[in-house]
Symmetry: C2
Subunit: 208 residues, 2 copies
Amino acid sequence: MIRVAVIEDLSSYRSALQVLLNGTAGFECMAVFENAEIAYNELPVLQPDIALVDINLPGMNGIELVRFIRTASPTTLCMMCTAYDEDEKVFKALEAGAHGYILKSTSPAKLLEAIVDLKNGGSPMSHEIARKVVMTFNKKPNPDLAQLTSRETELLKLLVEGLLYKEIAVRLGISIETVKRHCFNIYQKLHVSNRSEAINKYHGNHHH
Amino acid sequence: MIRVAVIEDLSSYRSALQVLLNGTAGFECMAVFENAEIAYNELPVLQPDIALVDINLPGMNGIELVRFIRTASPTTLCMMCTAYDEDEKVFKALEAGAHGYILKSTSPAKLLEAIVDLKNGGSPMSHEIARKVVMTFNKKPNPDLAQLTSRETELLKLLVEGLLYKEIAVRLGISIETVKRHCFNIYQKLHVSNRSEAINKYHGNHHH
DNA sequence: CCAGTTATACAACAAAAGGGGGATTGACTG
DNA sequence: CAGTCAATCCCCCTTTTGTTGTATAACTGG
């Protein structure tokens, strides 16, 4: 029996979920909440297996609620549920600790399947969401980095780690003067003039 | 008709895929390759819709091959296929440009489903893989960062960007001495002793 | 109103990083 | 074999960064 809590402001969708869950063997809709504030108080006590959280809630939004749930009810798995796949919110939600992310257009059958998947250690995501998530990994390496020799690359990694020149010298068993010379060459090849800029180049400029 | 190419060194699995694909309506196994080198030469000409690539190949591995395919045949979607879900390889593969990542334990039916999903803009992943991928986003912000005042946070962002002290001073309209003082305070709060370490703390220490 | 915090600033110093020049060695290459 | 290149080291010098002491004005909570 999978114990689910629903946090959703739209009453029609909220009720539909409740009926669907309670009408299916193996599922129990243990609570429904119309906003994040009420859920905030009740969820730590209920400790559901799954929290189905709408992103766009009045007042505190779903992402903040997930961030809270993840610490206040660590065993609860959070599935975001939203009408549109707004790019930024997807990643904000995952950073907050969401385990799955589905669209409201998902069919009831697929929704139940997703809940089971979540419980079994998966991370169900809608088509578009999964592709977006995977695409964030696809970083094209800066071509400048390819110009570095293997020794320079080795040294760059230590630079990125934040080691002092003298620490790098010890680590590589070379003179500090050689470290400086390598850095000089690396900066030339990367077209930067200091360590911080080199770190940014190394990380491909934009985080995630 | 979805045109699939298979790159897989294990002949039994390779043949099984070929039979499965050619025996199913809507799929065509247009080519099979037993190693990456042959595929390297042929794929740019074939331009398949989907490449099913085994990760562990003799000689050039599947990840390098995917990196090549993504530039030499940009419309081809790459699905990694591997026996075990070795953590590092998953992310290396996604960075190289893989669109999907499934385990060989996946049933034939699910495999076909995954290929269709891929073609339709999704990114099919096995249970465990999807959870791993999602988990990399779940970065708990360093509590030290919360200790910073808003001004310090503002300054830290400029530090991370790699600006010189004097540039920061101009940008914020304050004296360079004040910049230094702020940095000093920031380093104290983050428990670091230089800019590079602060950048690492800001980015949550481990890349991805 | 007092104590604490924040942002600001100056001075002086120490440490680290950056930017050249020049030189040697070994390995690989046409 | 001559030439190139990667890796190493040394020297000198400048700029930047990090540390510390001190101080003031503004605001904030008890």
